[in-house]
Every structure is written in C-alpha cells, then in structure tokens.
C-alpha cells in the first residue's frame, strides 16, 4: 500500500478561472484539473463513469462541475489495475454527513472485490483532493494498493482534513 500526500492548487480559484460550476459535498475532478487551460481539455478516467453509477445507486449525492454537454472525454488505459477518478471532498462534508466518505469508500471497495474475484491483479489507484477544515487549503492524496487497503483510507482522509 502506498499513499502520498501533496499540496494541491486552490480548487475554488481554478473552478472560477475555468468557468466551472461550484463544487460541494463529493465531486469528481477531471484527471488534468490542475493543468487544463479550458473545460474542453478536461479528461476523466473511464472508471469515473462507474463511480458515478455506484454513488447514484447508493444515494450518495455527487456534484458536477460541468454541464452534461461539456462532459470530459474518457481515458481508457488497458492495465490490469483499476484506475479510479479523483474525488474532491469538501471540508463541510465531514460535519454535515460524517458517514458519507465511509459509505463512498465501502461502495467502491465492494464493487472492486467482486470485480477482482479470484485474480492476482487487484491493484487499485485512487486519488482524493481534500479541503482542510482549519487552514482551508487543498491537499492531494494518492492511493495505490490492493482493494482491502481502501477501508483504511477514511481515517487518513479525515486526519488530513483535520490537519492532524
């Protein structure tokens, strides 16, 4: 299991610069959110579409930063590993709905357990962008590891949000 925590750009500022909609709760960010110069350049992992369905079916609200007609193109890499999207988690979510992140992680983890049943290749890549509750800065957390490790991410994400 490998996790990396890095500083991230000011998401609110980027959203305004690029003409995107406001983000709240949980939002899927395009893979190249930091570097794209306009909305048309946005790209998202193909599995972002799967995660949207998983959340929708489980009743987890997800906000979109672009309209349907501006939906980013999909990146499809033919790796054995599952490359998930970047989940932006707002600072308010931790107090408004303390179980939302746990539920979101469990749903992804359960889906992947079924998907990888029996295979040796159960490597997963997931990215998170967290807004810290006190200093209101953004942190990027990347996870690379097996499906079982997803369950341990909730504490890490919460600690990063609370700047522990």
């Amino acid at each position: 299991m490998d996790t990396k925590i890095e500083d991230y750009v000011d998401v609110d500022e980027r959203l305004v610069q690029l003409g995107c909609k406001e983000a709240s709760g949980i939002t899927l960010l395009p893979t190249n959110f930091k570097s794209a110069s306009k909305i048309e350049e946005f790209r998202q992992e193909a599995e972002a579409a799967t995660v949207k369905t998983l959340f929708r079916e489980a009743g987890i609200p997800l906000t979109e930063i672009v309209d349907r007609e501006q939906r980013p193109k999909y990146i499809q890499n033919n790796f054995a590993e599952w490359v998930g999207p970047t989940l932006l988690i707002s600072s308010a979510l931790w107090s408004q709905n303390q179980y939302a992140v746990t539920l979101a992680l469990n749903i992804i983890s359960n889906y992947l357990t079924d998907l990888f049943r029996g295979t040796k290749a159960n490597n997963v890549k997931l990215n998170f962008v967290i807004r810290t509750t006190k200093s209101q800065t953004y942190k990027h957390i990347s996870y690379e590891g097996n499906v079982a490790g997803i369950a341990n991410l909730e504490k890490l994400l919460r600690d990063v949000a609370n700047e522990k």
Binding site: A49, K52, E57, K73, Y74, F79, A80, E81, G118
Partner: protein
C-alpha cells in the same frame, strides 16, 4: 482442471444433488470427463474429441441460458453464464496443450490467456464459482513454468463516449456496472469515438495477449516466444519504408497492442 465437480459448489440454491436440474447434472459430467484430459501427456485424439464435445456443450449451455433469460430467471441465467465460461476455460486449456504439441507456442499462449480470462469470468458470473480460484492458480503456474517471460504492451485510448453493452444507453447514466453479470451476460463499457493516446510497455496489462512478439537483432528478427531467428522482411515500397523508419540505433520490435475481442 477445475478440481472439484462444478455442481458441488456452484449450484448452492440446490442443496441436494437430486434437486440439481438434469441439464446441469449432465453438464457437470461432460466437464468432469473433459478436465481429466487437461495435461500435455494425454492423447491428442482424445483431447480433440473432448474439444468438440465442449464446443457442443457450450452451444447447449447458451441455448439453456436463453430459456432462463426468457423465463426471467436471472440467478439461473448467471449460473449458466458461469457454466459457459467454465467450459470455455477447459476448452482453451485443451487447445493450449494441443497447440504446444504441434509446436505452435504463440497460439498456445493466447489459449492460456483465454483460459485464465474465462475462469475469472466464471467467478464473476456467479458466486458459486468462487472455488475456481484454485484452477486459476494452476494456470498461473503453467504460465510461469511452461512459457518464457513476456514483455507486455498496453494501448491508452481517449474515448468521446461510453456506451453500456447491456442496455445500449450512455454508460454514465444507466444503472449497469462494468464487469457485473446481468441476466446471463456481462456488462462492458463500449468506447466510442476513440483516439489512440499512447502505447506503453507495462508489467501488468489487462490482456496478456498484447505483447512484444519479435525484435530485430543482428542477422534477422528474433521471435520472443520461440527464440527462433527469422530473416528480416524488407519493406515492400518506399511508402512502407517511410512508415517503418526508426531512429538510428533504436531497437525495432513488433508488438500486439490491442485485440479486437
């Protein structure tokens, strides 16, 4: 080999053997007969006969599955989807041994990977096939022991849209999930308006049939599987030459980057 009779584990909804549908009992017998032939030492004629028997069995499973779909019996349809892939796995393994005996290791490799994919698919099709993890380990050992190490490639694509293979709707908006079984068939994302983004050499590709098949070396082209040195084929025309020109000192290799299926 599948290790244990399929009915014992995969048809949990029929706790007593007498409750197992006649169709499934007969299927299990065919599987048991054929899996005994999954070895390089077995007679090729017997293996060919078994392959024919399995092909017919797969056709019958599909027909039975279509009845289950018509009846709206999703559990049975998914079980039969598992049966179909379990049979495909044995068929692919038999073909692999036959091809190896005919000194066709490249085609044999493809069958090995087909067999691995089929076992994984059977396990995803229905929870009752989870015991197939053992035969999958066996195929993994065959991969390591029988075949030489391979260099794998992977194509990165950009898709304008994704369509669901089950309902035909926009994959992002329909309720189906890629890799899951729905009424006897798997959901898959169908990429549309595709552009090739990159090709990469990777350790863990989604499809191990995508690999470097040969590379140029002094005196010819070395087949990466057989290690046989074959004569270099000269470009047919100036146009072809331009297409295949490489940087001085670079290694020219031929790789499969994507499979149509």
């Amino acid at each position: 080999m599948l290790g244990s009779p399929i009915w014992r584990n995969c048809f949990g909804m029929w706790p007593m053997r007498s409750e197992i549908p006649e169709f499934v009992q007969r299927f299990n017998q065919v599987i048991e007969d054929c899996e005994h032939l999954c070895s390089i030492a077995r007679d090729s004629d017997l293996q060919r006969d078994a392959s024919g028997k399995l092909e017919r069995e797969i056709a019958e499973v599909i027909e039975e599955k279509n009845h289950a779909i018509k009846d709206g019996n999703e559990n049975y349809a998914n079980c039969l989807l598992g049966c179909e892939y379990a049979a495909r796995a044995i068929l692919a393994e038999l073909r692999m041994w036959l091809l190896l005996k005919r000194e066709e290791p490249e085609a044999a490799w493809d069958q090995l990977i087909n067999a691995q994919h089929a076992l994984c698919a059977a396990m995803r099709a229905h929870v009752g096939f989870s015991h197939l993890v053992e035969p999958l380990k066996r195929l993994s050992i065959i991969e390591d022991v029988v075949f030489p190490p391979q260099i794998f490639s992977s194509a990165g694509l950009i898709a304008g849209a994704l369509r669901c293979s089950v309902c035909g709707e926009d994959y992002e908006e329909c309720p189906h999930l890629a890799g899951k079984p729905y009424m006897g068939r798997f959901c898959a994302m169908i990429a549309e308006n595709i552009e090739l983004d990159h090709v990469a050499i990777v350790d863990r590709p989604a499809d191990k049939r995508c690999r470097t098949v040969s590379f140029e070396t002094n005196g010819g082209v070395r087949n990466r599987m057989t290690w046989r040195l074959e004569p270099k084929v000269l470009p047919q025309s100036a146009e072809t030459e331009a297409e295949t020109r490489v940087v001085e000192g670079g290694l020219r290799a031929t790789s499969i980057i994507m499979r149509a299926d």
